[in-house]
Symmetry: C2
Subunit: 258 residues, 2 copies
């Protein structure tokens, strides 16, 4: 394998993939054929297509290291890989929030690595038909890799790569993901939902729900608990919902007189 790695290194960087859950596998499906992809996940034993099974130290010693682990595990992983990281390596995370991972990676990773925070705004459900046109947010954290990486993602996968600060990202994501997941959680609790006499807008709503309902629980909790802007969005949504409920229960009879 060391021969193959050396050979590949001349053509393209070796990529270490730490975490082989649902999103790690999606990365493997898209990068596995293009790069030597060294994957590590203590909870995954079976071989995964496109992934060369590796130890944590081997994966962390690659030219590019992708941390595809749940946000709550990020600090511990950064501490574990710290001694193995090569000078000049690029470290990326793929978490659904960006302020907290940026802070953790800045604090825990050595100065000799570059860091870009990423949030691919899609998952196994929404990327079923391919990733073309889907969005990925890139946050510059350390070094100058953000723009070249955005260009490469646009050119190679036709991704819509958006560059933003972690705070800009989390403010928008608080609405985008916070609201989608809250609404989906409530609607799933209401099953069975109608599938026959439906409107076009209800069908769209159900497609939105179906896209996030199978997300790992970690994704929901990362969004709800680790995005500093979500509590305000959530309180506003539930406050407005309660106002509307109150209004419809006790008031507004006059509106039905026409």
């Amino acid at each position: 394998m060391s021969q193959r790695s050396r050979k590949t290194r001349k053509v393209a960087p070796r990529i270490g993939l730490i975490g082989l859950g649902a999103f790690g596998r999606l990365i493997a499906a898209h990068l596995g054929g293009r790069f030597a992809l060294l994957g590590y996940d203590p909870q995954v034993q079976a071989p995964i297509k496109g992934v060369i099974a590796a130890t944590l130290a081997e994966a962390a010693a690659c030219d590019v290291v992708i941390l595809a682990a749940p946000v709550p595990a990020l600090r511990e992983i950064c501490r574990e890989i710290r001694p193995c990281l090569r000078a000049g390596a690029l470290v990326l995370d793929v978490g659904s929030v960006k302020v907290l991972p940026a802070q953790i990676m800045r604090e825990e990773l050595p100065d000799h690595v570059d860091i870009v925070g990423t949030h691919p705004m899609f998952g196994p459900q929404s990327a079923r038909g391919g990733v073309k046109g889907l969005k990925i947010v890139l946050c510059p954290i350390r070094g100058h890799w953000t723009r070249p990486l955005a260009g490469w993602l646009r050119q190679t996968f036709q991704l819509d790569a958006i560059i933003a600060t972690p705070e800009q990202h989390d403010r928008e994501a608080a609405m985008v993901q916070g609201l989608t997941h809250l609404i989906a959680k409530v609607l799933v609790e209401m099953e069975p939902l109608p599938r026959s006499m439906t409107t076009v807008s209800f069908d769209l709503l159900m497609r939105a729900v179906d896209m996030v309902r199978h997300d790992a629980p970690e994704v929901f909790y990362a969004i709800e608990r680790m995005n500093p802007f979500v509590p305000d969005v959530r309180r506003k949504f539930f406050g407005l919902a309660a106002d509307l409920a109150e209004h419809l229960e006790h008031n507004g009879e006059s509106q039905s007189s026409r």
Copy 2:
């Protein structure tokens, strides 16, 4: 006009359209070219393409009479048109609820007319690209016109015509429309909503909202107040939302430990 009417009557039935609001105009756009369409609306003065301006009595004396008025106005209109209705005429409504209009029409319309309740489950927004494949629910109320009408709508407009009782309709619609409109109302209150760093599921959610946000207030109030099954659906939705809000505020920290 009487000559033209007689001539048209041999080929196709004359249709009376009472109510020329957003939905009445959508009907006119699809039926106006095929039939002599006699339209009446006390609040609409300007001529509408495909509609022959008529008095209430003229519109009510047609072979088919479509009541495209808000549900709260239905009983009064039925009383007004009652003396003008021809024996053997077919009367249809197009309201977003079906139990209440069925009851009103059964009570107020003379025995010598047939009645079918309809709910076209689309509006000017969702029918922008045509009505092909869209759904319409037909409820038999009096006479045997439901099946032939369903067949004609399928053949002529490729509509997905579903036959159901008013109660079956209202049970499903309580979820379908009750939930869509409640969610849309709350989200519209939260504007400005993100339009850049969005997920596929959020984009679907916004398309659902955009489809109903410009609906006439009467549609919202008909759904919320005149569907007997909506209060239970609404309480369940807001109850589950409140539970989730409570859980996320005070509990579930253990979930974020992984």
